[in-house]
């Protein structure tokens, strides 16, 4: 699981160009979206990029951002979903 969490952090940093961040700077339990202390403050465009990562790298197809909302809550929820659904 920890390997997957690290991998997801690296993919997010890459896809969203968060180049000032290192994986260890990201708290996997902090909310990814919204204006939260310690979170990444991601927005709707970032959500679309995450949908692409899921599709491309894990073979998981999400229909839209609404369906993705609970899955994208944090890195930890995302990792859990990927480990259960990856193809």
């Amino acid at each position: 699981m920890n390997t997957l969490i690290l991998e997801i952090k690296q993919k997010i940093i890459g896809a969203l160009n968060l180049e000032d961040l290192k994986p260890e700077d990201i708290d996997e339990n902090a909310p990814l979206f919204g204006d939260n202390e310690g979170g990444l403050e991601l927005d709707s465009i970032d959500a679309l990029e995450l949908i692409i990562i899921l599709d491309k790298d894990y073979g998981i197809k999400l229909k839209d951002a609404k369906e993705a909302r609970p899955i994208f809550y944090s890195i930890a929820t995302l990792a859990k979903y990927i480990s259960e659904n990856r193809k």
């Binding site: 969203l16 160009n17 927005d43 990029e49 692409i52 491309k56």
Partner: protein, 576 residues
């Protein structure tokens, strides 16, 4: 001084329309495949056969549309002189211009530069004045009309041809697909089942004039207009609708309608109504907030699709037709209201509350968080424009420049290194910076330094501050990146975070978000850096009482050539 819409023409998908066409009985509905006939019925289209002769040997598809539209406009306009003087202006509104010529593997075709395209058109007709290009995302058309009107009223021009056009291209289609913004059916604005927009392509044009005697059709006046910025997000519209609401308020105030009397004066609202969930939600809030709940509202998007940089002009012309018939057309696809505020979306063609369509409010919103509104009115109902008196004159209070000219060619640092260094030197961490494209990073960092010793927020209301920028290459730097992704035809599609920056005005949007600037943000494209023009337009906004402070300047980037040259203007009386 009243500014009239003297000539008008729309060309879209092998159909042509003008309110000046007399032989309406011969009108045909030439339907593109897959579009149900009922959808197009209210518009008396005629068959459009593109002109046989090329005006230019290497004429593009979009230029052909511009030329054919301009030909119709000149044929309608009663101007005895065959020669255009420097009092006759040309404004072109487009988001992507000749983007169909962009090839990810080849050097950029010169015609992809919007100012080159504009100059090709201007030169053919012999315009003496330099053409003005506006690329303001989906409010471009409204911006172009409002800017044209202001330049006539300020005395720079007597008449202005305003042309707006955009093509339906793979470039644009793949971008909107990446946003999951495309409708699975023909778009259904304001309906509960709506799920996105339908793209269209069109060219629309009008001649704005101060000369009443040169009108051959109906006497419709462009009475007023305004643009604002949400300062909240680059793609998602404001959650509250405040930006569009401010644009409506500023427009009402521009024509002397008291805010509380909106519904007593406006007969019909033509919404942007793209059919995306968030746009229509936001618009309903702004319309409701403005007190226009009882006013009939429609969207013209199901008739023509979303024609992007042309839409403001094209739809304004179709509003003129509805004014002539005193009917508000239906919104095809709309049956049950699916927006949070109970506005009167027109499901059937109808008369208005007062029976006539004398005064129309036209709205638009776009990426970068821009909003625009304008009011069209039958001549007899137009108010005399009042001239604002502003105390104090505009003075420059700050400037800052970041340019590749400051660094010897071929030496380090390259742009990427330099802008990152400059950003870190600010010591104001912001993760958003890293998500931006190069042009936005350049504009963002330059504005940070420009305003480092200025407190705009405490001094002005957010709506009192605006941005007037220009460049040569539009967003071509990022357009190339998006085009290369599109050409790969990846199974996962294009990248939304790249596509969002394929509009130069998004750079102004990023600056407005950072500094909470909610006034007008306008992005011009120029063939070369012309700060005098930008300054005089910024001063016009200030002396007309529209804005109290303006960031104006040049914001150009293509590869390793970049130049951001920003200036801040404030009114002398506000400097204490």
């Amino acid at each position: 001084m009243k500014v009239y819409l003297a000539a008008d023409c729309v060309i879209s998908l092998n159909r042509i329309f003008s309110t000046h066409f007399s032989s309406k009985e011969n009108a045909v509905d030439h339907l593109p495949d897959g579009v149900p006939p009922f959808v197009l019925k209210p518009i008396p289209w005629q068959n459009y056969v593109p002109s046989k002769e090329n005006k230019l040997a290497d004429e593009t598809a979009l230029e052909r549309l511009f030329f054919d539209t301009a030909d119709v406009l000149f044929s309608q306009y009663k101007c005895e002189s065959q020669k255009l003087t420097d009092r006759f202006g040309l404004i072109i509104s487009t988001t992507k211009g000749n983007i169909d010529l962009l090839d990810g593997d080849k050097p950029i075709d010169a015609r992809c530069y919007l100012s080159v395209m504009a100059e090709r058109i201007a030169t053919y007709y012999g315009f003496i004045s330099k053409p003005i290009v506006i690329s303001n995302a989906c409010i471009s058309g409204i911006s172009a009309l409002v800017v044209g009107k202001r330049l006539i009223q300020s005395g720079q021009y007597d008449e202005v041809m305003v042309l707006g056009g955009d093509l339906m291209t793979e470039f644009v289609h793949e971008g909107f697909a990446a946003f999951h913004a495309l409708s699975s059916t023909l778009c259904m604005p304001f309906d509960a089942a709506r799920d996105g927009l339908t793209l269209g392509e069109a060219c629309g044009g009008v001649i704005l004039t101060r000369y009443r005697e040169r009108i051959s059709g109906r006497n419709i006046v462009l009475e007023g207009g305004a643009m604002t910025s949400d300062a909240s997000h680059v793609t998602a519209p404001s959650r509250t609708g405040d930006g569009l609401y401010y644009a409506i308020q500023a427009t009402l105030s521009d024509v002397g309608i008291p805010a509380e009397a909106a519904a007593d004066n406006i007969d019909y609202v033509n919404a942007h109504g793209t059919g995306t969930v968030y746009n229509d939600e936001m618009e309903s809030k702004a319309i409701d907030w403005a007190g226009l709940q009882t006013c009939p509202v429609n969207s013209l998007k199901p008739y023509l699709g979303h024609t992007l940089g042309a839409s403001g002009i094209v739809e304004a012309i179709l509003c003129m037709e509805q004014m002539h018939c005193d009917r508000v057309w239906r919104t095809p696809g709309f049956s049950s209201l699916g927006v949070p505020k109970a506005i009167c979306v027109s499901a059937h063609e109808q008369k208005t509350v007062r029976g006539n369509v004398n005064k129309v409010l036209k709205l638009a919103s776009g990426f970068g968080g821009t909003n625009g509104a304008l009011i069209l009115v039958k001549e007899g109902f137009a108010s005399e424009s009042k001239s604002q008196t502003v105390s104090g004159k505009p003075v420059e209070t700050a400037s800052y420049r970041i340019s590749s000219e400051q660094i010897p060619k071929g030496t380090k640092p390259d742009f990427y290194q330099r802008i990152s260094d400059e950003f870190h030197r600010l010591n104001r961490p912001n993760l958003r910076f890293f998500k931006m494209d190069s042009l936005s990073k350049l504009g963002y960092v330059t504005s940070e330094y420009l305003l480092s010793n200025v407190q705009l927020a405490g001094k002005y209301q957010p709506q009192e501050v605006g941005i007037v920028l220009a460049n040569r290459s539009s967003s071509l730097d990022t357009d190339l990146a998006h085009q290369r992704i599109v050409e790969q035809h990846l199974p996962e599609g294009a990248s939304p975070s790249v596509f969002v920056y394929t509009l130069p005005s998004v750079t102004a949007g990023e600056i407005s978000i950072r500094h909470k600037i909610k006034g007008e943000c306008t992005f011009f494209i120029q063939s070369e850096k012309d700060l005098n023009f930008l300054r005089s337009y910024a001063e016009l906004l200030m002396t007309n009482g529209i804005l109290k402070a303006v960031i104006y300047g040049w914001c150009e980037l293509l590869g390793e050539e970049y130049d951001a040259d920003f200036h801040l203007l404030e009114l002398s009386n506000d400097l204490k």
